[in-house]
């Protein structure tokens, strides 16, 4: 039986947001694409599941870079351009920040946000707005430069703020604004997820995230992230892409330094001119390239040098009360014993007790997402992978339950309502869950940490020489734009663009 064509233009390993974005863009340019996904549905962790008849969001807190219908940002525009018609619901707030001495709900809109910070720390409006505007200037530059690269000299003239802040950490730049500690802390809660405290986080990344999130707000699909993933997959298939589920790619076939196909766990050998891998470089270079002798030492040093970013531990519950009856009043609550991101980052190294919790009550973004009289509430910690790497199979269940209980108890204390008295359904997701469903290296959902040693600007400048095996591109959280669901679309497009450019160059040579 013949399940595959003799040859494809491109094989994409992984049918999540990055892989599907690559597939969409390549199909849009008329390329013949095969997507191989190991799970039986698209999306990776951008998915949902059904428990007790209730559909539950698996991972998405919110999508950035979408923008309002008449003012789309790059991810929203890409979906529109590709004909991926998602029903977006606007998340009503930025976040509720809760740390010692502060309880405040902050909203998107640079001025509104600055005003709300000023409400907590009077006299900071001008400074905070100035900082946010700087973020926005850097954001605009990054967006423009990602489309139109230019010389350094020209960059300095047209994108001065971007160039001048590129070499500094978030803390170094924020320090120049002379903001009181409390105001700084109000800017901090969200960004720990990119895998660094402020002393290590490149300001460029902070600026882009801040401008996007605070400037334009965030969105969720009405029918959970599965709506987004499925609509991408359906659209890709309608454009001629072949997607095969439950196909685990074991090997990437390489000859003379150039990828030419893959082999699946089933034993199918499939050939293509190009391969795009959503599998981590760590996995690809240590066990997937065949023959292994095609992997240069440089590749191993490169993956060993990079720090894995954070992963996720989530307790997702359906509670048998409306949210307000349990004193849950916001879509997202960021609660920390401190908002010093460097202290928090260190706390994430272990297995708890965790001191910084991210909570989502889905109903405030999507009121009909659970049956009447119930609500969906999740508590998430974003631990470093190292702590979880020490957990054995024997103790796994006990650790998982201990951590889950800690985070639920902490939030119960905060709400003054024992959430454990109201659990209709509960699902505990760990790095192992991520690994089980996506095979992500170390169960890490966020690729490599953004640090001053692994700076996005540096990533961009050395991208070409890091392309070690020809005709093999990487697309996923481990790619240049890094972590988060929105950036996966960007990563996927970038990989597709590299393939298209290489195809065009080869065509020109002929």
């Amino acid at each position: 039986m013949k399940f595959y064509k003799d040859h494809y233009d491109v094989i994409v390993i992984g049918g999540a947001l990055a892989g599907l974005s690559s597939a969409l863009m390549l199909a849009d340019k008329g390329k013949d694409v095969l997507v191989l996904e190991r799970h039986n549905l698209p999306g990776g962790i951008a998915s949902s599941f059904v428990r007790g008849g209730i559909e539950i969001e698996a991972a998405l807190h919110e999508m950035m870079s979408i923008g309002a219908k008449d003012n789309r940002l790059k991810v929203g525009k890409f979906f529109d351009d590709m004909g991926v018609d998602i029903e977006w619901l606007k998340v009503p707030e930025a976040y509720h920040a809760s740390f010692p001495g502060v309880e405040v709900t902050l909203h998107p809109g640079l001025e509104r946000f600055a005003k709300e910070v000023d409400g907590v720390v009077p006299g900071t409006y001008e400074k905070v707005l100035k900082l946010l505007n700087l973020c926005h200037t850097v954001f605009d530059s990054v967006n423009e430069l990602s489309i139109h690269p230019m010389s350094k000299a020209k960059m300095l003239v047209k994108h001065e703020a971007f160039v001048k802040t590129a070499g500094y950490s978030t803390q170094e730049v924020i320090d120049t604004f002379d903001l009181p500690k409390k105001a700084q802390e109000l800017l901090a809660p969200y960004w720990i997820y990119v895998g660094s405290g402020f002393s290590e986080l490149p300001f460029t990344i902070f600026a882009v995230l801040m401008a996007d999130y605070i400037g334009y707000g965030s969105y969720i699909p009405r029918k959970f992230s599965h709506e987004m993933s499925l609509k991408m997959a359906e659209r890709a298939e309608a454009m001629g892409v072949q997607i095969e589920y439950r196909q685990h790619v074991d090997k990437i076939l390489v000859r003379d330094g150039k990828a030419y196909g893959v082999r699946t766990a089933r034993g199918d050998e499939i050939y293509a001119d190009y391969v795009i891998s959503s599998s981590y470089p760590n996995k690809v270079y240590t066990s997937m390239i065949e023959p292994a002798s095609e992997v240069p030492q440089k590749a191993i040093k490169m993956v060993n040098a990079r720090r894995m970013s954070l992963t996720a531990f989530s307790v997702i519950m359906i509670l048998d009360q409306p949210a307000a009856a349990l004193n849950i009043n916001d879509y997202s609550i960021f609660r920390g014993e401190t908002m010093n991101t460097d202290i928090l980052y260190n706390n994430l190294a272990g297995l708890g007790p965790y001191r910084y919790l991210t909570c989502i009550c889905h109903n405030y973004g999507n009121p009909t997402c659970t049956p009447e009289g119930t609500c969906s509430f999740s508590v998430t910690v974003l631990p470093q992978v190292n702590g979880w790497k020490t957990v054995t199979a024997e103790e796994y269940d006990a650790v998982k339950h201990r951590v889950a209980k800690q985070v639920i108890d902490d939030m119960s204390d905060y709400f003054g309502a024992n959430l454990l008295d109201h659990v209709l359904e509960i699902v505990i997701e760990t790095p192992m869950t991520v690994s089980r469903y996506t095979n992500a290296w170390n169960g890490c959902i966020y690729g490599y940490a953004h640090t001053m040693e692994d700076h996005i600007v540096a990533r961009l400048q050395t991208a070409e020489e890091e392309s070690i095996i020809k005709h093999l591109e990487f697309s996923g959280a481990h790619a240049i734009s890094g972590d988060g669901m929105g950036p996966q679309v960007t990563n996927g497009r970038k990989a597709a663009k590299n393939v298209l450019d290489a195809m065009a160059a080869e065509e020109a040579r002929k």
């Binding site: 013949k2 439950r246 040093k301 170390n442 001053m452 700076h455 540096a458």
Partner: protein, 394 residues
């Protein structure tokens, strides 16, 4: 803005690039091939395993327990008491899988010579595989099995410490696993099993269960048939009887035949227990799909043309209106992954490319977006016209 002075500021981009290249240069050249997170996953969810039957024993007049070990020996994966195994059977041309609640305890799977057991009762003429197991399976037979599926298990962060299990017939199996795990000291809960059987010689695993009674495991037999010398509880599992064995805060776990589910749904309402305290095991494949609300009776005697796409390959097979798509595929020897066969787990998620189906309303566990795009769980979908589907290549 200015951080450290104009020159330093504008050379920042070059500085970070240099820092990154230096980090690459000084990194170790030894490949790190082991992913410890994935190693844990392998021990919990290794996928389908090659299993060998190491023991077959009768556990009632009509039921047998089959013990499986790993062909390669050693420990079997972790699972939760109450979960099921999916076993693959090759019978003639057909490749058929079936879920069976595991009746042994999780700790027994983790022994050096780990095992899992299933307990299967001979059918009353309608259970092809149940009879096959009772008549044919013997020590030394090999099967592929996926251990540890399903959501029917005690979750300490959700359930009351006091659990009343309502079991009917062979529905005792998940509770046998829980009881043995409690006896083994690895599950902390109080379990009272109200076990309904027709007659005393119909009781499955009677001696095994007697042996593990304790202050944490109570077993109450309830006979629906008339037996003159029976001293215990009689009749059905009524609200009144259930109440007698309940604590102030009790979680009810229910596993048994479909008729019992229908009866208990009404009885449990009378107890006014909160919804979160009531946990039904999956419904199982509909016995007679034509009896469900909205079933288009006019097609029930028809056989449709089912075009099955796998990759770029196509097969055309017959599909009876009263049999699920999974059954049609299995009859034709086309592999499809299945789990619960109750529409819940979604293993058999299938795209309907054209044509129409009826989805069993008891077993419609689909995601909302999947419904919009004509995906079905093939175990719960019945053809109502000729149709074309796409399934994964197995």
């Amino acid at each position: 803005m200015k951080v450290k002075g104009f020159l330093k500021d504008v050379t920042g981009a070059s500085r970070v690039t240099k820092a990154r290249l230096n980090a690459f240069e000084s990194a170790s050249a030894t490949p790190e091939t082991v992913d410890p997170i994935a190693e844990v996953v392998k021990q919990w969810h290794p996928g389908k395993l090659d299993l060998i039957v190491s023991e077959v024993r009768a556990v009632s007049k009509t039921a047998k327990t089959i013990r499986f070990e790993k062909v390669s020996g050693g420990k079997l994966p972790f699972f939760y008491a109450g979960q099921f195994i999916v076993l693959d059977f090759q019978i003639g041309e057909s490749i058929i899988s079936r879920p069976y609640s595991i009746s042994s305890a999780p700790y027994q799977a983790r022994l050096d010579k780990g095992f899992v057991e299933i307990t299967v009762r001979r059918s009353r003429g309608d259970g092809f595989i149940a009879d096959y197991i009772n008549d044919t399976v013997k020590v030394g037979d090999t099967f592929k099995g996926l251990i540890g599926c399903g959501q029917f298990y005690y979750e300490p962060l959700r359930d009351a410490k006091h659990v009343v299990a309502l079991a009917g017939g062979v529905g005792i199996t998940p509770f046998a696993s829980m009881a043995k795990e409690i006896a083994g000291g690895t599950l902390d809960m109080d379990l009272t099993i109200l076990y309904g059987s027709v007659s005393s010689d119909d009781i499955i695993m009677k001696e095994e269960l007697e042996a593990i009674r304790s202050d944490k495991v109570h077993i109450v037999h309830v006979l629906s048939g008339d037996e003159a010398d029976w001293q215990g509880e009689k009749g059905f599992l009524t609200a009144e009887l259930i109440k007698k064995y309940s604590a102030d805060d009790t979680t009810y776990f229910i596993c048994g035949p479909q008729a019992m589910y229908m009866f208990l749904r009404e009885e449990l309402k009378k107890l006014n227990a909160p919804l979160r305290r009531i946990r039904f095991e999956v419904f199982g494949q509909a016995k007679d799909i034509t009896t469900f609300a909205g079933y288009p009776a006019e097609v029930k005697d028809q056989t449709f043309k089912l075009t099955v796409r796998r990759g770029i390959h196509e097969d055309v097979i017959p599909a009876k209106a009263t049999e699920s798509l999974v059954v049609a595929l299995e009859r034709a020897g086309i592999r499809i992954d299945t789990g619960c066969r109750s529409g819940e787990c979604g293993f058999c998620r299938t795209k309907i490319l054209s044509g129409s189906v009826y989805v069993c309303p008891e077993n419609d566990g689909r995601r909302a977006a999947d419904k919009d795009f004509n995906y079905v769980h093939a175990c719960a979908a019945y053809p109502t016209s000729d149709l074309t589907i796409k399934i994964p290549i197995e």
